[in-house]
């Protein structure tokens, strides 16, 4: 009997299937009762996606995680991008990024990364920053999700450079986790990274320290 058949047979025995032999300890279990799953939790928040209350909450949470947040108008965005990238010197961008965002960042060396022509991990390690869009954000938890679409790029580009600049649009910000997950559920197969602040650890005396292996600095630019 293959391991697959054997494990599945044991599971059936554990759940009371008398024709399935016994588990490794020689047991036959009882059939569990049918389960009704109650769902009385909040499936959405009090505030609409992109509303001022939701944006305010997202800013509050991100600041709490020691991320840097700026609310900008569409017109201010290129200057804000140039500003946060100035120190990094170089930036990697995904193929589908809105080029207008880089319009004011003339002094910054721009590297382009695609799935077909990916930069190596060592290449990415030599680049100062990464600029991406986002897929959705959740204000209650201060979470931003990237799902690998062309304006966000491969997972590696938003991981290796030490500074992540992420542009989040107001309509992408929802209040609750269920609203966020349901937006993502239309494409669950996409590789996702949920980001809540810069990398951190609580491994030393359970005190939180920001900045470990992932980007140590996270800039969020909240645009309309």
């Amino acid at each position: 009997m293959s391991a697959r058949e054997d494990v599945l047979r044991r599971v059936r025995a554990a759940l009371g299937d008398r024709g399935a032999g016994t588990t490794a300890a020689g047991k036959v279990g009882t059939a569990p009762a049918a389960v009704e799953v109650p769902r009385r939790y909040r499936e959405s928040g009090d505030h609409d996606p992109g509303s001022p209350a939701v944006l305010e909450q997202l800013v509050d949470r991100l600041v709490d995680y020691r991320a840097h947040v700026r609310q900008v108008t569409a017109g201010e965005l290129p200057a804000a991008v140039a500003d946060v990238l100035a120190q990094a010197g170089s930036v990697v961008v995904p193929p589908g990024l809105d080029e207008a965002w880089l319009a004011a960042a003339g002094d910054v060396v721009v590297h382009r990364d695609t799935r077909d022509e990916p930069l190596s991990a060592l290449d990415l390690d030599a680049i100062g920053a990464v600029l991406t869009a986002a897929r959705v954000a959740c204000s209650e938890t201060g979470t931003i999700v990237l799902d690998g679409e062309p304006d966000q790029g491969r997972r590696a580009i938003s991981l290796v450079p030490d500074v992540h600049v992420c542009v989040v649009r107001a309509e992408q910000v929802v209040q609750t986790v269920p609203e966020m997950v349901r937006r993502l559920a239309s494409h669950p197969e996409r590789p996702q990274t949920w980001i809540s602040g810069p990398s951190a650890t609580s491994d030393i005396e359970l005190d939180r320290v920001e900045g470990v292996h992932g980007p140590r600095t996270l800039h969020v630019l909240l645009a309309p």
């Binding site: 697959r4 054997d6 009704e36 669950p188 005396e205 359970l206 292996h213 992932g214």
Partner: protein
């Protein structure tokens, strides 16, 4: 003092008799050598606890860390208005997973395979270790990077790989501390919770090899040292090994929840990824994540959300590992599933909230439990996972003592995000152990005492007489009315705790004298008291 040679990942199991790790006296960090059985090592819980309780540094470290995390957890749980509703859903979803496990496992396998992943099945630790080793060997590597994973701890994967000449590099900060110190983990979430910052600095200085000599014990500086140490490993690793927090049956998506970014590094940069997942870690649908992504981070690190969660479904061409293997692990889980009461231990999402609130864990520490799963959840999971080898019923099995590692205070049940009734399972497992003992026909002082008590209590006269006899013990108490040393057989109790001295009169005596006094007092004042006073 032993000299540290080579990579920590190449260290092997301790070679004490019968696989029991023998701590080496010249080990600078008081290491617990790696056991042959990660689910059964050391002495029985009472013996191990007696030893660890002597370690004041350990108690201070744990007291500080668990108090910190309890406060944080309470604050972020309090701000969720529908926390109880989420717990109810989480609990029911997990119950549903267990009931539909054969179907959900097949569904997960089908979806992972459809997206280019390879699914393997492992009956036990040896089989899982062999599968992972063969994949690493096929890739021709002598080193793999690892994301912190309880499943791979449970099967002793690192030790097995080391025996095959493959170094497993732990990349989670706490796991790295444990690995460098050649120690064993003592907590599910924070394996190095028993170490304070000064000890961690000493471990880094002695074992890391590439740290600045003036390294301080400031947590930020220690974290930066770990970053520098592991960076090169991440950028050049070809094979990574991870566990999984959730496996989504209806999409084939796997999730790893983490903080430092070491998980993202391992799950993204290497060409090959091997994930070892217990068969119980399934959730039925992608949208069920909306429940568990709220329950887990707040319960474990006390954060609204952990810094990073990675989700992947098979292989994504051009993004991340191009070869993905999923190893589905039984290793005793089906034995747990077969137990009508104990099966809910499989609902555990490994948040470790129960450890942080447990008065027993806080004092004895994780190593006393002799398993990679310590604390309240470990006390119900470890015996059941090792049931096939006597973990529940064996009188001489060290794991059979684990269900007694609790005061049954119930704090673990209160904080469990999926409402596992740990106290009830503990009581059930205790009964099971006692039942197994009953068949052994040996002289049982407990049984004898119970029989005697039942004879005394079944007759009022005998009971009164026994009570008056007991008051003779009143004189044994010290000034504080406590007996701290008594002759056998009562010494079995007073070795561990104090015994309150019996009062100088029994309840029956007190009641009788109270009645007599009341009659005396009532006589001259009839009609005036009018029921005033005691009601």
């Amino acid at each position: 003092m032993s000299t540290f040679l080579g990579l920590p990942g190449l260290r092997r199991r301790g070679t004490g008799p019968d696989g029991v790790p023998a701590a080496s006296a010249d080990e600078p960090f008081g290491a617990v050598p790696h056991p042959q059985e990660p689910l059964r090592w050391g002495t029985s819980f009472p013996e191990a606890a007696r030893e660890t309780l002597k370690n004041e540094q350990l108690r201070r470290n744990l007291g500080h860390a668990t108090a910190t995390i309890r406060t944080k957890r309470a604050a972020v749980v309090d701000e969720v208005p529908d926390w109880e509703a989420l717990r109810n859903t989480g609990s029911a979803v997990k119950e549903q997973v267990m009931a539909e496990l054969p179907h959900l496992l097949a569904q997960l396998e089908e979806n992972v395979t459809a997206r280019g992943g390879v699914v393997h099945w492992a009956r036990d630790a040896a089989e899982a270790n062999r599968i992972v080793t063969e994949i690493a060997q096929a890739k021709g590597v002598d080193e793999v990077v690892k994301v912190k994973s309880m499943a791979t701890q449970e099967i002793g994967l690192n030790e097995h790989l080391a025996e095959e000449g493959i170094a497993a590099i732990e990349t989670d900060l706490a796991e790295l501390i444990v690995q460098l110190a050649d120690d064993m983990p003592s907590h599910i979430l924070v394996p190095a919770i028993h170490r304070n910052r000064a000890e961690i600095r000493d471990i880094f200085l002695a074992r890391m090899g590439d740290v600045p000599a003036d390294l301080s014990d400031v947590p930020r500086e220690l974290a930066m040292a770990a970053r520098a140490h592991l960076r090169r490993k991440f950028l050049s690793a070809r094979v990574a090994v991870s566990g999984a927090n959730f496996g989504v049956a209806d999409t084939g998506t796997l999730a790893v929840v983490e903080s430092e970014g070491n998980g993202r590094m391992c799950l993204t940069l290497p060409e090959t990824l091997v994930t070892v997942m217990g068969i119980e870690k399934l959730i039925p649908t992608y949208t069920d994540l909306e429940v568990f992504a709220q329950l887990l981070p707040r319960s474990s690190t006390g954060e609204r959300m952990n810094p990073y969660t990675s989700l992947w479904t098979g292989v994504t061409p051009g993004d991340g590992p191009q070869e993905f293997h999923l190893v589905l692990l039984d290793n005793g889980r089906t034995d747990v599933l077969a137990d009508e009461v104990g099966r809910s231990a499989l609902h555990c999402i490994r948040c470790s909230a129960c450890l942080n609130v447990c008065p027993v864990y806080e004092r004895v520490g994780g190593h006393a439990y002799g398993s990679v799963y310590p604390g309240p959840i470990g006390a119900i999971l470890t015996p059941q996972l090792t049931a096939a080898s006597g973990g529940v019923s064996g009188a001489d099995d060290v794991n059979a003592s684990l269900p007694y590692a609790s005061t049954l205070c119930g704090a673990c049940y209160d904080v469990c995000p999926v409402k596992i009734d740990i106290p009830s399972i503990l009581v059930d497992l205790r009964a099971r152990e006692v039942d197994a003992d009953r068949g052994r026909h040996r002289v049982d002082p407990w049984k004898a005492a119970m029989k005697a008590a039942s004879w005394v209590m079944s007759d009022g006269g005998r009971f009164g007489l026994a009570g008056r006899a007991a008051t003779l013990g009143h004189g044994l108490g010290g000034r504080d009315g406590v007996i701290s040393k008594a002759p056998p057989p009562v010494s079995a109790w007073t070795r561990e705790r104090d015994l309150p001295a019996p009062p100088d009169e029994t309840f029956r005596q007190w009641w009788a004298s109270r009645e007599r006094a009341a009659e005396r007092d009532a006589r001259p004042a009839v009609g005036h008291q009018d029921g005033e006073g005691e009601r």
